[in-house]
Symmetry: C2
Subunit: 189 residues, 2 copies
């Protein structure tokens, strides 16, 4: 096998998601993933530190996209409007990724340890967003709440997308943000 | 030692929090906690399944208080107003509990496994609130967002209380809710 395989990372991810779906995350080994992808185990470990990283390797890029996009929105834009712009850009990361996202979600839902890892990922994202809001001059309490609200909209919009892939993630995120606004304004605000 | 010790549970909790603070959670054993409390190890295990339950044994009561209070608010009350009422009642659970809450928070902050457990606790609370909102006739997406928003306000308000025990938890939670409303309304809502 040659050292440089075309789209080795993508082939490994697809093979891993197939195997995790078929036999479960616990029951799958790196060697089996490599075999299914028609690649060597060494190639697997050149691309992923372990089989969990196939599921969470994108978390850093996701957080980076959130933080860099939010930081680039002019400071005059109100926090939740800036979050709305950010969510639109983040949605593009998932364009043409509906099927792997859906498989990944099902694998995570079936495994307690992976669900915990996903919670940690989202908590880290919330902290990173709060920190970015503070950098935009938002006061500490509001910055934390904006980080939490941004993650809540992402999480709920993402779940809606999983249940309805006929429309894009961006639409679902936009609707969840509108829904949060309606909800929070209702009553004796 | 007699089978029924006055306030054994409280004494064990205080002893555990002291020891976790002094030597770390990992380094403390159930036997040491019992000894510090002047009780037997058997008494410890009559009150707590393990040393982690000293920190998380209250989670079920907390969730129950949230859910039962929210369910009892008349359905005509808007979701976030109902959440506001609920947070006031929940705050009473923590009356005179500032010092143990602060110690607990510090112990959890110092240990990755405990931080994960705390995230799981809050995720479970969010699901329970969403389910209660659905039971109040709130549509699914709004119910999930209301659950997430409620937990966000609780989390951020609680952190503020930890940093300023001069005022009660209820005041901090109320202010965090007002802050969330201000934040979410600001801009092109």
């Amino acid at each position: 096998m040659s050292r440089w395989e075309p789209d080795a990372r993508g082939r490994l991810e697809r093979a891993a998601l197939e195997l995790y779906s078929e036999r479960g995350f616990e029951q799958t080994t790196a060697a089996q993933i490599a075999e299914r992808a028609g690649l060597s185990e060494r190639t697997f470990f050149r691309h992923y530190a372990d089989k969990r990283e196939v599921l969470f390797g994108g978390a850093r890029l996701l957080e980076q996209t959130f933080v860099e996009t939010l930081a680039a929105v002019p400071e005059a834009v109100a926090p939740m409007d800036a979050m709305g712009v950010t969510l639109e850009v983040v949605a593009e990361v998932f364009a043409d990724r509906y099927e792997p996202a859906r498989q990944r979600q099902a694998v995570i839902a079936a495994n307690a340890e992976l669900r915990e890892r996903e919670l940690i990922k989202l908590a880290s994202l919330s902290s990173a967003l709060a920190s970015t809001f503070r950098g935009r001059g938002v006061e500490d309490t509001a910055a934390r709440l904006a980080g939490e609200a941004g993650v809540a909209v992402f999480k709920v919009g993402f779940e809606r997308w999983m249940g309805d892939g006929g429309r894009g993630l961006g639409e679902h995120l936009g609707e969840a943000l509108v829904e949060l606004r309606r909800l929070v304004v209702a009553g004796s605000a």
